[in-house]
């Protein structure tokens, strides 16, 4: 793998799409401002950490759409062949896509978000003492690693499906999440022998009803940390790795 090839791939992507990216950035700022306007207008219905909510909606929506465009050439066979024909290895192409849609996107997103957030704070500080979103408060920044996992899944979907890859990936993800939830609930019921489990999170914990109250069962702290490490750090790399495998198979 040559870094110069990765850098050339990035330059090509930016040169070909910079107008779209600029327009997209303006649209993203507009979307975030609109969301802030909505939560401010109906602030009684949107109590709590509204800035965190707007941050996540914007990140996953725009990040998902942007990531899905990384290998959009595969949706047209002729363009797909052209993409495969670019003189760079599959690893270089996948790494360029991860860098652009994962890391570079995140930097741009944070800049645009804080611009919109600053506007929101400026307009509402006097009346509501609003302060800018602090990513480090309550460990909120850990959710950014969930974005990397989401990025890995969308990238994988874009090399698995030819047409409408983003929609198909989202539907597949939804199906997997629903199945995982039911499977995990079933497994927890069978293994623990507790029948009235009403909710569970895979690799984390479950809750069951007892005399009208939910009782929570969670992993011991050290194991919970291990589980979080797997989801936040290992899983994104695994999905990026499978994306590379799938891309390489397309070359054959």
């Amino acid at each position: 793998m040559k870094l110069i090839n990765v850098s050339l791939l990035l330059k090509r992507q930016l040169k070909e799409h910079y107008q779209l990216y600029l327009l997209g950035s303006v649209a993203l700022f507009g979307l975030l401002s609109l969301l802030f306007l909505l939560v401010h207008q109906w602030r009684d219905s949107f109590a709590g950490a509204v800035q965190n909510g707007v941050f996540l909606i914007g990140l996953f929506l725009s990040g998902g759409i942007f990531t899905a465009t990384m290998f959009q050439e595969f949706s047209v066979p002729a363009k797909g062949i052209w993409l495969l024909g670019i003189p760079a290895t599959a690893a270089e192409k996948v790494i360029a896509a991860i860098f652009l849609s994962g890391f570079a996107f995140l930097v741009v997103y944070l800049s645009i978000f804080y611009l919109a957030d600053w506007l929101f704070v400026w307009l509402t500080y006097k009346e509501y003492s609003t302060t800018p979103l602090n990513l480090f408060r309550n460990g909120f920044y850990w959710l950014i690693f969930t974005y990397f996992l989401f990025n890995g899944i969308i990238l994988l979907g874009s090399v698995y499906f030819y047409k409408l890859s983003f929609i198909k990936t989202l539907l597949a993800l939804l199906l997997v999440l629903i199945s995982l939830n039911y499977l995990n609930n079933f497994l927890m019921m069978v293994i623990s022998g507790i029948e009235n489990i009403n909710s569970s999170t895979p690799l984390s914990g479950f809750q069951f009803e007892h005399q009208g109250e939910n009782v929570y069962v969670t992993l011991p702290e050290s194991l919970d940390n291990l589980s979080n490490f797997f989801v936040r750090f290992v899983l994104p790399v695994v999905f990026w790795g499978i994306t590379w495998l799938r891309f390489r198979e397309k070359e054959i």
Binding site: M188, F208, L219, V238, L245
Partner: protein, 236 residues
């Protein structure tokens, strides 16, 4: 079969094995919970006695402070990671982070307590931005300091001396039957104090800026004794 499909299959197997392993660990954890215990969703730890309690954080979950013979800290198991404690001499500092709810809703919060603190030695409580419920304090003096968007609810307490200093947007109220022999109030900025369900022999007050004191009929009657003398005096 393609390598990518094999990798996806392996990932599915690892996830399933992980869920099964987690299931067995959680079974052991579930067995440790005493379902007859009213605090079954909480974890309790005994802590050394303290005189000053400094609380800050969010108002999403109420923090109960109760008088008891022993000193302990009980935390809602699922909020454990949001709790940080520091010890500085006879001061216990508690930072209980989380999402905030609007000030008007915080007072009506029916969420179960996030933390329950039991103490027999506290003399001063400072609260910044959280919602504390002070309960069942008997025959002990208390100095209460509220800042930011702090909310304090005092219920069924008897204080020889109760000092409340409130600043910024903080507010406090009383529930049940409360008694303060000497009640000293200092309200500044945009604070609100609801004087209802509180009996006192003497009230000294200092109310500045746009602070508000809301009086119930019963409290208003207390302020004017039968001889028509004021039992409340502004402090210098």
């Amino acid at each position: 079969m393609k390598q990518s499909n094999i990798a996806l299959l392996l990932l599915a197997l690892v996830l399933t094995a992980g869920m099964v392993t987690t299931g067995f660990i959680l079974k052991k954890e579930a067995a440790k919970i005493d379902l007859n215990d009213p605090l079954r969703n909480y974890e309790t730890s005994n802590i050394p006695a303290f005189k000053v309690l400094k609380i800050s954080g969010s108002n999403g979950y109420p923090i109960d402070i109760q008088q008891d013979s022993s000193t302990s800290l009980t935390v809602l198991r699922r909020r454990k990671s949001f709790l940080k404690t520091k010890r500085l001499g006879d001061t216990l500092e508690i930072i209980f982070s989380g999402a905030n709810i609007p000030l008007e809703q915080a007072e009506k919060n029916t969420t179960p307590a996030g933390i329950i603190i039991k103490t027999n030695s506290v003399a001063k409580i400072t609260n910044q931005n959280t919602f504390v419920r002070i309960m069942h304090f008997q025959k002990t003096n208390l100095d209460l300091e509220l800042t930011g968007q702090a909310v304090a609810n005092i219920s069924n307490c008897q204080f020889p001396v109760l000092n409340i200093r409130a600043a910024e947007q903080s507010r406090f109220n009383f529930d049940g039957k409360n008694m303060a022999e000497n009640f000293n109030l200092n309200l500044q900025n945009a604070t609100v104090g609801f004087l209802k369900n509180i009996h006192f022999s003497a009230l000294k007050h200092q109310v500045g800026d746009s602070a508000v004191v809301v009086l119930s009929n019963q409290t208003l009657t207390q302020l004017f004794n039968r001889q028509g003398q004021m039992s409340a005096q502004p402090t210098e």
